[in-house]
């Protein structure tokens, strides 16, 4: 029975937080890591995609133009216009840039040459969520003025005056303080946990198949490697969904910041 319970882990190093540490490529430049290279390449790819799609537009679209128009109309109609209403045009460039940047950087996680989502490094998510925080607060202040904006976000219409002492700190914490934290952590942790899941199935399966002797372990390792394909499929779904969710929530925060009182 002992071979059924491989408690002795042998030389296997379980993937963990250290799997996300990559040394800088050059000793003199600590900021130039693998994440930075991936992000810069993604910006170049996205720029090339949109520039090529926007060039030579015809009334009857070619196949390439059709792809670009579908991607554009997806963000424009089902995210920006649904969430922001009639003044969605101001924020459409921001939403399209955010969506394509996050989508490409998430999809790096299943792209065979990179296999590491850039957004699994929390700094990128903090940066994007911080930018969104400045933009939606700035949009609200520009629309209503500082006091008008603070009053609208912290005191919803229709709250009786004797509940204000409870509602104002709660709404302030939830709308100003917690929003950027959850926005960044949601994206980061989804990518982090997803990449860790892939690592567990692939590295663990490989170790069981190659470096372990009992035949039961080899079968389990082979099954784990085959099943990792399904995990990649799940990751494809989660990565697209998180890019969508981040953009939708950005649009919703802006929309709630610039909304008139009902």
């Amino acid at each position: 029975m002992a071979w059924l319970m491989p408690l002795d882990t042998g030389g296997f190093e379980a993937p963990g937080v250290s799997s996300f540490d990559f040394p800088p490529l050059f000793p003199g430049a600590p900021w130039l890591s693998r994440y930075m290279i991936q992000a810069v390449v993604s910006v170049a790819l996205i720029l090339a995609f949109w520039v090529i799609m926007a060039r030579k537009n015809k009334l009857v679209p070619s196949k390439g133009q059709y792809v670009g128009e579908t991607a554009y109309f997806f963000v424009r109609n089902s995210i920006a216009r649904d969430m922001l209403g009639h003044d969605f045009r101001t924020y459409l460039p921001l939403l399209i840039a955010l969506f394509s940047f996050i989508l490409v950087n998430n999809l790096y996680g299943i792209f065979p040459l990179t296999l590491l989502p850039t957004t699994s490094h929390v700094g990128w998510c903090y940066g994007m969520a911080g930018m969104v925080w400045f933009i939606y607060n700035g949009a609200g202040i520009a629309r209503h003025g500082v006091w008008g904006y603070l009053r609208r976000t912290t005191l919803p219409a229709g709250v009786p005056w004797y509940m204000a002492w409870l509602i104002i700190p709660l709404e302030f914490a939830s709308n100003i303080l917690v929003r950027p934290v959850t926005l960044s952590l949601r994206l980061f942790a989804n990518m982090f946990a997803g990449h860790l899941l892939v690592l567990v199935f692939v590295l663990g399966g490989e170790y069981l198949l190659v470096n372990s002797d009992p035949i039961f372990n080899k079968i389990a390792g082979a099954f784990s490697l085959i099943f990792s394909m399904a995990i990649f499929g799940l990751e494809l779904f989660v990565q697209s969904l998180q890019a969508f969710i981040f953009t939708v929530l950005t649009a919703q925060y802006i929309s709630s910041a610039i909304a008139e009182e009902h």
């Binding site: 408690l7 649904d82 952590l185 949601r186 942790a189 946990a193 969904l241």
Partner: protein, 74 residues
């Protein structure tokens, strides 16, 4: 033959397992309502799915923050 099992590891992962119960129930409730709504009014499916994804993301954030805390305190 089989000696008493010695398990080593982080208790934070057990805590995460407990913490994932609530968001699991929440996400289940969201999609149960979507299925029910779609069965009653199939043409409203698109509008319901849009709201459901946002609700799903907000609920799932609890479980996701839990897995991070399991790493932070683990």
């Amino acid at each position: 033959m089989l000696t008493a099992m010695e398990l080593t590891g982080s208790l934070g992962i057990v805590g995460y397992g407990l913490g994932a119960i609530g968001p699991g129930i929440g996400v289940g409730l969201i999609f149960a309502s979507v299925i029910q709504g779609t069965a009653r009014q199939p043409e409203a499916r698109g509008a319901m799915m849009g709201t459901a994804w946002i609700g799903f993301a907000v609920t799932e954030a609890l479980a996701i923050i839990g897995i991070e805390l399991a790493f932070v305190f683990g």
